[in-house]
């Protein structure tokens, strides 16, 4: 992960995109609003995509059913927040946060637990077979989506933001929505924890070594299989957390939301290089910024913005910005 000749060029992509957008948006305050909104959206997308990029980059498992954990996290959070109406309804920030954090934790726990079962029954028989992984995790997603419909019903479920997180702060003329600040904070924490765990701890070292040469690490007496199950569970839990963030962002949940987000997160991890955490962060920020700028400048093109971005990045680097080289 750390190399002497660190490849810094991709780090410039997001600032360049922001600078290019500055003259186009007209006024500085509009630009600031859009940029912060874009960064926040990017952070939420990163949280969603980080789990998938972990599972893919470390375990070489293509999980097309990742979207189910996103939807699951969001629906669990809606139930938890629904139980805590007293806490979400009050205007005090700390009370709202006290409501949101347990919701996140429960969502992560449920998504992680379901991830454990998913790994055992859906993914385990098809390790090392990409084609079957795509097929069987698609099947898993269908089952998961239908079970969500069984539990929470097929209709839309509202997920309103707690009182104190609604509205915006004014910095000069630029309006910054409060929830987006929270999203940035959560995203930074997730990225920091991931980078620290993978780069600085013994577990991270073992995981990285296991990816490089599984047999060698196992002959040293470590159980890579268990470690990788843990990676899958963490990946699913992160998807659950991302689902809570995304659900609060949309304030409205549908059982198909996972499949809808799938396209976005695939774009992000393709840009990132299929498996790189840093690459996924860059990809997510680019997609977030691009969506917001284009949404303001050329609204009809919003849906294509991220795809154009992906094509452009792939023309520059066909394997994504930080290709995972050992495969």
């Amino acid at each position: 992960m750390k190399a002497l000749d660190f490849d810094w060029k991709p780090l410039l992509l997001a600032p360049i995109l922001a600078l290019v957008a500055l003259p186009l948006t007209g006024s500085f305050s509009t630009w600031l609003t859009l940029t912060v909104a874009g960064l926040a959206m990017g952070m939420i997308i990163f949280i969603i995509a980080s789990g998938l990029t972990l599972v893919f980059g470390l375990m070489d498992v293509l999980n097309f059913g990742h979207g189910v954990f996103i939807a699951l996290g969001a629906f669990v959070a809606s139930s938890v927040l629904g139980l805590m109406g007293d806490w979400t309804g009050s205007g005090e920030l700390w009370r709202n946060l006290v409501a949101v954090f347990p919701a996140m934790l429960v969502a992560m726990a449920v998504a992680g637990a379901v991830g454990l079962a998913f790994e055992r029954f859906i993914v385990r028989p098809v390790y090392g077979q990409h084609l079957k992984q795509i097929l069987i995790t698609m099947g898993g997603m269908i089952i998961g989506e239908e079970l969500i419909k069984v539990i929470w019903g097929p209709a839309q479920v509202p997920l309103p933001l707690p009182e104190a997180l609604r509205g915006s702060l004014l910095i000069g003329d630029a309006a910054i929505s409060k929830y987006r600040l929270l999203a940035v904070a959560v995203g930074v924490v997730v990225f920091g924890l991931l980078a620290w765990t993978l780069g600085r701890t013994k577990i991270g070292l073992l995981i990285r070594a296991g990816v490089q040469d599984r047999e060698m690490v196992e002959s040293l007496g470590y159980r890579i299989g268990r470690l990788f199950v843990g990676v899958f569970v963490v990946g699913s839990a992160l998807a659950g957390l991302g689902g809570v963030m995304w659900g609060l962002f949309q304030q409205n949940l549908v059982p198909q939301m996972g499949a809808q987000v799938n396209v976005l997160i695939f774009i992000v991890i393709i840009i990132g290089g299929l498996g790189s955490t840093g690459g996924a962060l860059i990809g997510a920020l680019l997609v977030g910024l691009m969506t917001n700028y284009i949404g303001f400048l050329l609204p009809t093109l919003t849906q294509f913005a991220s795809i154009l971005l992906m094509v452009a990045v792939l023309l520059w680097r066909p394997q994504g910005v930080y290709p995972v080289a050992n495969r």
Partner: protein, 355 residues
């Protein structure tokens, strides 16, 4: 001997499979007379469309080992080709032909571009890129409402000859009125048979063998001297063209097209399910799978309704058996078949016959 040539030497190789296929062929050939009623005929027509669509996807997934999520895009292009040209130029055969040719051209260019751009990279890239492209195309189709009718879609008229109001004979024959609807069904039937035989011809040609070699071991195929990218791109283009024709068949039957009818991601998932359940890498599997799936889609819900009412004492069981949850059971079936019958129904039958 003639049959052997017609089937490109790819015989069912299992007595049970042969019987099934024959029964299927007869049932579809005489569907309007055996199964009277509007719904039954629509189900039969849908089966014909899906047989072609799924077989064309199997060329890609089963024979070449490429996972594409953009297959319904080409299906949609075919359907929109007919819809747009018939709604603009009026109900003439020229308009139908023009729409067909134009949509084939669009599919050709698009599939060629996607193939060249992304088939060099790994399978996973291709799967994800096609997913992104397909979703962009779907948005495009629903946003360009002047052109495609947006979310509402397009309803259009086709030549008099194949419309239900056209009667060939005063008297019904064997209890079935001889009208344009019947003619339209037989047009689809002929098209489906010809296209399926053509696909069988393709996969059993030397070209088809190379595709299978690439599926089995890309590296070796390249080492023998086959240009893998060329073969893969050709397979992707061919498969896209057949999907376009299937889309045209759908539009001609429904005389309507919209984003949900031909472009939705659900159809893509349906196609994946059918290929796997029927058996990847066998055109017969595509046919058998399509029939099973469309029948399940059309009639399993009725069955589940019975089960759900029977289980009304146990609310959670009733919820699981609710007719809207039929996809759940299909998903379970799908996972189980990837688990236990990776070769699908046809592979299983053939393996049993070979023992």
């Amino acid at each position: 001997m003639f049959l052997k040539r017609l089937l490109s030497n790819d015989m069912p190789r299992s007595r049970l499979l042969a019987v099934l296929l024959l029964a299927l062929f007869i049932a579809l050939a005489f569907a309007p007379f055996i199964f009277p009623g509007v719904k039954a005929l629509s189900v039969a027509a849908k089966i014909l469309v899906f047989v072609v669509l799924v077989a064309s996807f199997d060329l890609l997934l089963g024979y070449t080992g490429i996972v594409s999520f953009a297959h319904t895009m080409f299906f949609g292009i075919g359907a929109y080709g007919i819809a747009i040209s018939a709604s603009r130029l009026g109900p003439s055969w020229g308009a139908v032909l023009l729409g067909l040719v134009a949509s084939l051209a669009v599919s050709l260019v698009l599939s060629f571009a996607i193939g060249l751009f992304s088939l060099r990279v790994r399978a996973i890239f291709f799967a994800m890129i096609t997913l992104a492209v397909a979703s962009a195309f779907q948005t495009l189709a629903s946003q360009l409402s002047d052109f495609t009718g947006g979310e509402d879609g397009l309803t259009f008229k086709l030549p008099e000859l194949i419309s239900p109001s056209f009667e060939f004979a005063e008297e019904p024959f064997l209890g079935v009125s001889l009208d344009g609807r019947l003619l339209c069904y037989y047009m689809l039937f002929a098209a489906a048979v010809v296209l399926l035989l053509a696909l069988l011809r393709i996969v059993n040609s030397p070209f088809g063998r190379v595709l299978q070699a690439i599926r089995e071991n890309e590296f070796r195929a390249e080492a023998i001297g086959y240009r893998v990218v060329v073969y893969r791109t050709t397979a992707a283009v061919l498969s896209a063209l057949f999907a376009t024709l299937a889309g045209a068949m759908l539009a001609i039957w429904l005389r309507y097209n919209g984003p949900d009818t031909s472009l939705s991601f659900e159809i893509m998932i349906d196609v994946l399910l059918i290929v796997v359940i029927g058996g990847m890498g066998t055109m017969y599997g595509a046919a058998i799978g399509a029939v099973l799936f469309v029948l399940a889609q059309s009639y399993l819900q009725d069955l589940l309704r019975v089960g759900s009412e029977a289980a009304s004492g146990l609310p959670w069981l009733a919820a699981l058996l609710s007719p809207d949850r039929w996809l759940l059971w299909l998903g379970v079936l799908f996972v189980v078949s990837v688990y236990y019958f990776p070769t699908g129904i046809v592979g299983k039958l053939r393996a049993r016959a070979a023992r």
